[in-house]
Symmetry: D2
Subunit: 361 residues, 4 copies
């Protein structure tokens, strides 16, 4: 039905054709429910192998907020909260799903402005935006324990990071390692939200691999919804699940899909012949082309993002015009006359799409 | 992968081919997220028309427990509980999802044994099993208000029924009307769980239509997961939603699907050319054939179910043998040497499937 | 202000004068907050000694519902519920406080009617009313684990009993031992609500001692509110608390009293020179006198209660008359023309009070 | 038992002797439970009169965190959060009690440092510390509604302020009025935590009266625990309660005291002959004396507090020495060698106490 091209997000299209094909091929196979089927097992095996973690536990859930809520609730004791960037999805954009399950989000600053004198091009924010710092994390935790009144406060019980972040930025391997070390020192599980993980792993400007993540965090998820699946997120507990009864916990959160094999089948496809990585790379290449085109045309970047989400500053007048030709994502008002918009590429974006977009910019 | 036929449940297969076809046809159309797309609108319009309720509000959620939890939480005030049959899904088989969101399930009896002298054939239970009675409901509510201490008790705040019930039974129009009248008298919203609604509506032994339900309840859902969709439940608030902000409530429950159009598209297909009703009718015809075959072979019915779920009593020895040829659903142990099993037909069951099954029975 | 005598409950008066005296004596001593003071320590030591449990952890909370909610939440994992009698306070009369904290109450039957042919006097209920049976408990738990679908159900995670029960009845030592054995076999903590514990321990018809309870249960509380204190319940975790951080959990439930020493001071007084036991004995002696007087006058007992709560069946006409002279507790309507009322004695009831009451009966 | 004087907090002593006397005088009067007694009614009437709000609803709860949690839960819809200063008690020091009941705390900045060039004496913070600003509040709310994605965020649903704040500071009448106007514009209830209200009202440096508060906020409470009562907080819904069933909500939070009259009796005493105001004035006079003495001795104030809590900066070496003679409240580490401590006066502090303290400072 929609009649114009859109870069508003990376969840505007269906699924990679190979996934649709397999859904079709297996449509009348009869499967046991709730993820107990062989496709889930096969997908889990492939993921564990790709991570180099044969002892991991892998679950498949439907969407991002649901996954964040369920995992965080599994990780925390009742009197604990989760530490996250103030801009983290769980802190800002999940309608209070974490608090709904009884836990506070303890926030760390993550909006470091670019230094005026020494910044990449004209980006408003530097590459730290959206990220937490190991030093801030340590300060929060050690400050908590140093406070004589801390038994009256919410205990930090787990740490949440997103990679890529909501701003498209990436942790370096050094940064991830430092955060991981703080977590291990204080015995706090580290949880990495990988709703866009493929786009982080395939960035030209990252030194972080899937195996690195599996080594450095306690639990993460491999996003499918935004990376080629119809829907679905693959949760990997790298050292095994923190509970002997994940099923009732998942069900209690309304997150147990009856036809669980639909999730297994999709991830089995994505982790066959490196499909997940190949389609992620496409999004990166298209984003790099887009960014270059934008900079060439003199657009001011909001941040010099190394992944599939690009953010630019637009004059409000020109934005109105753009809106009639191209879909984009409203990000925030920068000032009285400017707006920040998001342009996201994805696993299916083509060179022609970029050219069409640039025609209107 | 599975190599044997299964009647274990009605969620063992994918989706009706027309749904897969449309997913494929629209795969690269770019849609806005979270159910704001035109397919959701179209599906909602068709459903409202089918119900005769132009002012209804229609939402699409992913699965049954999630839907029950979210709707009940929308209906209740914090100090209220939901009234349900002791055998209701929300009371017995949702891992405490209702309590997880802070509410008690107030139960009514629903396991009336068949009268030994006057019962249909040899069924263990009569056709009331799984259902609540208007008289019991009235007694609970009026008893509550008559109790001087009721401010220290959980207030009945909504009424939950399933149709078909978990036992495959159906309310008559008279029964539904009576329950509805009690609810209206006490101003309690009536919620009908229609996870298998199609199979109830197409039963040969029902006088209840979709329009009847829409007239008699405040909210119900039309099950897709078990009736031809890949997944999805269409919630119909017949007089409009009970909140001006359903989106954050849905999201808070982890129930807001990013690619909401996947749900709209499926229900739009199911409610085009009466597909939902036609495929539901198939399940009923196959169930009727199955029941007749079972009775002819001398099997004792657990209940003379008028819908797609059939329950029979099996000797444990013979059950073990059956298990190697056919999938079935364990229901409960009847006594030391007998087990009740469930055999469910669905939208895709064929006459050949029944014949294959009967070979082993 | 009230101008008539009342037997409506055991929480109609202030505190034993020795408690008021000590509050007065210590009024200007300056204490550290939140139960970290020496009076709490002293009270805990005396209680541990009285229980014969030097390694117990003792906490002081303010009221019954608060205590039940906080303890049960400490004992349960998120996917677990608490098993209780259908008539248990947590199941029926706490406005959903257990569900508010996310847990289901799994109920067992507890309303066994007296056998018409063989019952004590004319009591409507026998001495089992309000109690659970070890056999029912075992059946619930083993049935749960035998059910193939139990991962979709609420796990039994702890067992709640009250002693005396809400009906004034008492477990025998044998019954308590059997229940305790089932709990240990399935590794479920056993929690005994002792809101009226003193009246149970001092009953003439009990073989259960404080040490027995401390040996047989995992956590219980010694009720103060109804037994001589202004307010307060002393929680005893007989083998130590189930969490290393009880303080934030208690505070999260709004149950951490700033001036915690008020609780310690009261229990220190009650457990000095056997005051708790002496005043409890008074209530029992007065209840025995009351019951004898009632039976002599031909009143029908609702149950032949061995503790401080007595229940009788009254004609509605005579009840109206009584109401203008004496306070009583409405219990329930028995039939069209009869009502069950509760008459409770307490630590301060006098022989003159009973005589005054009997004048009107 | 304690053998040294303490200024650590304002909840280190029992109650005003008139309260103990009345508890003693009424000890054997028999009262109905749960706040339905005449003392609660009388106290509520006196409070309504003192506030000039005959139509207010007044409830009595036991402690501060419990009161904050219960009221906020009454005010909010499930998808709403409460706006508070980052230093507000509900945001920082209640062990997550608000999140435990499902709601997010949306924070505003409140730590404005004193301007180096133009500040009162040597205080580290200016008199704004601990307070929110109407302009920040408006920015948060209008920013929320201006955000296209706000349906995915937590809605601001009520505003919480404390007066005095946790730092002893006070809102001016103008500031309160501005905040109240923003709340009314956006139809958000304004809730004022008055745990130390008396000390705010009796400050020499305030223009805010009890009637002003009752006019400007929707609900507030008059703290008893810290102002002369044994325990208890009087909640005033100035325009009536937001629910027709406050009792089950209060009980669900474990906050319904069985012997509710203990609260009524205390507040009835405090609001007889202006006792509450007189004893509050004493704390202020003693705090003013203390502050003057501290400044005279050259101590650096952390903030020039106009109420009963005084904060000073101490060298760590001297602090250790002080600790053996006087109780004080640890507030926070200022730097490597300095600590901020709190010294609180209260309703019972005497001139001799101050002199004794100053001996050691």
């Amino acid at each position: 039905m929609p009649d114009k091209i859109s870069f508003s997000s990376d969840y505007t299209k269906g699924a990679h054709p190979r996934i649709l094909q397999r859904l079709s091929d297996t449509n009348f196979e009869q499967m046991p429910g709730y993820g107990t089927d062989d496709y889930c097992k096969s997908a889990a095996d492939k993921i564990k192998k790709a991570c180099g973690k044969p002892d991991a536990d892998v679950f498949f859930l439907v969407g991002g907020t649901q996954t964040n809520q369920t995992i965080i609730d599994m990780l925390l004791k009742p009197y604990e909260g989760v530490v996250a960037a103030q801009t983290g999805h769980v802190a800002a954009h999940e309608a209070g799903a974490i608090e709904f399950s009884g836990h506070k989000v303890l926030t760390l600053p993550s909006l470091s402005k670019a230094n005026e004198d020494d910044r990449a091009g004209e980006a408003v924010y530097d590459e730290q935006v959206g990220k937490i710092k190991a030093s801030d994390l340590r300060a929060l935790i050690s400050g908590f324990y140093a406070d004589d009144n801390h038994e009256h406060m919410v205990f930090p019980g787990a740490v949440y990071i997103s990679h890529p972040t909501e701003y498209g930025t990436l942790y370096t391997k050094t940064e991830l390692t430092e955060i991981s070390e703080v977590c291990r020192e204080y015995k706090l599980p580290l949880f990495l939200d990988g709703a866009r993980l493929g786009y982080g792993l395939m960035s030209k400007r990252t030194d972080v691999t899937l195996a690195d993540i599996a080594n450095l965090v306690d639990v993460f998820y491999i996003g499918g919804t935004k990376v080629g699946a119809l829907f679905g997120e693959a949760v990997v507990f790298t050292k095994g699940a923190p509970t002997t009864h994940p099923v009732p916990i998942i069900k209690q959160h309304g997150a147990l899909l009856a036809k669980g094999w639909l999730l297994g089948l999709q991830f089995d496809t994505l982790f066959t012949d490196d499909l997940y990585f190949d389609i992620s790379r496409n999004a990166i290449e298209m984003a790099d082309l887009l960014r270059k085109s934008l900079v060439d045309k003199g657009y001011r970047l909001y941040i010099d993002s190394p992944t599939n989400q690009q953010f630019i500053v637009m004059e409000d007048d020109r934005l109105k015009e753009l809106a009639s030709h191209v879909g984009y994502g409203f990000w925030e008002k920068l000032d009285e006359t400017h707006t920040v918009i998001r342009l996201a590429t994805d696993w299916a974006t083509t060179r022609e799409d970029i050219e069409e977009l640039m025609k209107w910019l």
